[in-house]
Assembly symmetry: D2
Homo-oligomer: 96 residues x 4
């Protein structure tokens, strides 16, 4: 059963510009069996729960290789009553 989730990872203490770290995190997410859709505040992913959690953990640790402190967030939307997907959710709110 697929879940839709959002991952955001904030590297602290390396100055205000952190996109190079964020890019590495997104590269990690793309190695997994997930649909990966970055936005301006985080990255939405779709896939099996275990795959999402493993990808999140590796992305978090990847960013921590380069910086002393990371605050990361994983938000999971998980439903049993119907199939959950990025496409279905966007269609439901009429975003093309």
């Amino acid at each position: 059963m697929k879940v839709v989730a959002e991952i955001s990872i904030i590297p602290m203490g390396k100055g205000p510009s952190v996109s190079k770290y964020v890019k590495k995190a997104i590269e990690v997410l793309k190695k997994y069996n997930l649909k990966v859709v970055p936005n301006a505040m985080g990255t939405v992913v779709e896939g099996e729960l275990d795959e999402v959690i493993k990808a999140y953990k590796e992305a978090h640790l990847k960013v921590l290789e380069d910086v002393d402190r990371v605050v990361s967030q994983l938000k999971i939307d998980h439903r049993k009553d119907k199939e959950n997907s990025i496409e279905r959710k966007l269609k439901a709110i009429e975003v093309e």
Copy 2:
């Protein structure tokens, strides 16, 4: 000085399907002087800090008209060292 933010609003107690409430919230956000970009887990907005906060508050209250309980989240990315925009942030992580 513009900020980039993400808003998500969860209506509780009305069953698992809540897109009709979320759609109303997005309509509210669009009335404001903001760039509004919905994704599968929330809505990214760009605009002045006060405009973002006012829009968030009205969207939150709009959803609360229809349900007994709402849990909403506002996350603001605010920087002084350079201009902040959805476009710049996506370019920095090389999302077209």
Copy 3:
């Protein structure tokens, strides 16, 4: 009608240790007509919706005085069916 909310403010680019900025933010929150309960990951507040939002905005801007970039989060739990308070919520989950 009171809401219960959680505020967290992350100052970026000033090194991994940021407690002095967080302390200033909490001082700001305490000036408002709110119950203020810091925890290890954020600060829970209780009060009127407008008061919570005003306090959050001032705390966010206070931290931004000292750093180039701030990522802050406001999460509001708002219900109409019964009185909402920190005390009631903790009692409901049997935390003394």
Copy 4:
């Protein structure tokens, strides 16, 4: 290396009162080798990264047993430059 994290789990579609589900989630967290400190908006935990993630996943799935949809959040604060703990973090912001 210990991390400090916050877990919040929102059961959707079962009415506005959800404390009985939240209580079950907290019981799950307590089975793990973690310090567990509930607050009014979530539960702060302290422990090894893998332990935190496993506990979060089980608590998420536990709540999903009883409801059709769950939106959960895990926020991890992970630092390498010094020991991270709930006690140290509270001391740094001068909360007794």
